[in-house]
Symmetry: C2
Subunit: 215 residues, 2 copies
Amino acid sequence: MAVLSEDLTPRLVEAVVNGELTPGTKLSEPELARRFEVGRGSVREALLRLEGLGLVERLPRQGARVVSLTPEGLTELFAVREALEGMACRLAAMAITPAEADALTRLLAQHQQFVDSQEEYQRQQGEEDFHYLLFKASHNRMLVSLLGDELYQLLRMYRHRLSYRHSDPRQALLEHRQILDAVLQGDGELAELLMRRHVARSRRHLLVQFQEEMQ
Amino acid sequence: MAVLSEDLTPRLVEAVVNGELTPGTKLSEPELARRFEVGRGSVREALLRLEGLGLVERLPRQGARVVSLTPEGLTELFAVREALEGMACRLAAMAITPAEADALTRLLAQHQQFVDSQEEYQRQQGEEDFHYLLFKASHNRMLVSLLGDELYQLLRMYRHRLSYRHSDPRQALLEHRQILDAVLQGDGELAELLMRRHVARSRRHLLVQFQEEMQ
DNA sequence: GTCGGCATTTTTGTCGACAAATATTGTTTT
DNA sequence: AAAACAATATTTGTCGACAAAAATGCCGAC
């Protein structure tokens, strides 16, 4: 028998991230319970998890609302990401295994092929895969949990809402290659520096889109 | 009317942090419900929050257990803290207000008095106050929430379990002063560097205590 | 026409109850 | 005596129910 509230959480996360439930929307527990055909307790539990992911805000006796997206929120998120992904790179330079190094090397070779063949196809996923594999190589469970679970969904929400367009794929691939090189050479300091620049660039890119799209 | 599950959470946190509930202890929902005289639903909600704080681990159909403390866990926590507190310092150097600057300056003057008068009294709290005021000056709500709420309780748990003894108070005060000076001069880069060293020193200090006390 | 107060309705916070799953205990077997 | 099994007991996951609080709509007053 499955655990309802755990199956329900990703479904609610998707609904929030993909904009089905827009920012500011009041999330009524009875309504969600009817919609997902579960008891109100399970909805409550799922909403509590969403609060932990920063996707909804819960006020006592007032219920949960989908968080609103602001340039400040985006900036804050990226400051945290810059710090954590930078540290993850530094640690990965010391802790990465040969298998993980191979997987990352192969991934970038694959990206190279896509760039060469002009297929932008799947680029989005590839970017995420690179970051995921890399911070997982830090072998720091708390970092992986923060970057991969807790902060990741909010990042996805911003990207979705901004009809995310990547900047130059060649530039991104170049930066990824530089970062991976530093990691493979065991130069944690350089790897951290390069990753922080990479994340900061990404932040500026998204902030521009924010200005453009949301008047 | 108060919100039971929110009042219950800090009580459970305290019980876990101060060792009343030792690592590995199974936390039975009915038992906690009787003990704290609330319904099982409220206990469940509180346990879910504790899981978010990293104080308990919940396995489906098996309930919650107090996390066990390990040198690896301590190292992971401090890597995250080093990254986040460093970033907070960098941001604080840009965003700190005159009022916050005053409060921090006064706090360090107070610490100086304590050091001069040899009263080690209240040192523990003072250390925490400094860090709290400082990362709050970053004006990054996500950083404040992570450092002040989510990671803080686990740090307290490690400190408590290690009958935390500070290293040299004069050394700590010196480092704090250097950090604050850098922040007040708007030198975010230096402030970050110094804070990261400070946290790393603290990590090594606690790790030694870990080796000593837990064989 | 707009603002303010009152009654109604909905929603949240909380609890107890039930079924399924797990843990525990005692018993039997090798 | 140790291991495997079975019956019991406890616990978790889930739901519906109830009271208090908040949101809503309605009516009258200005």
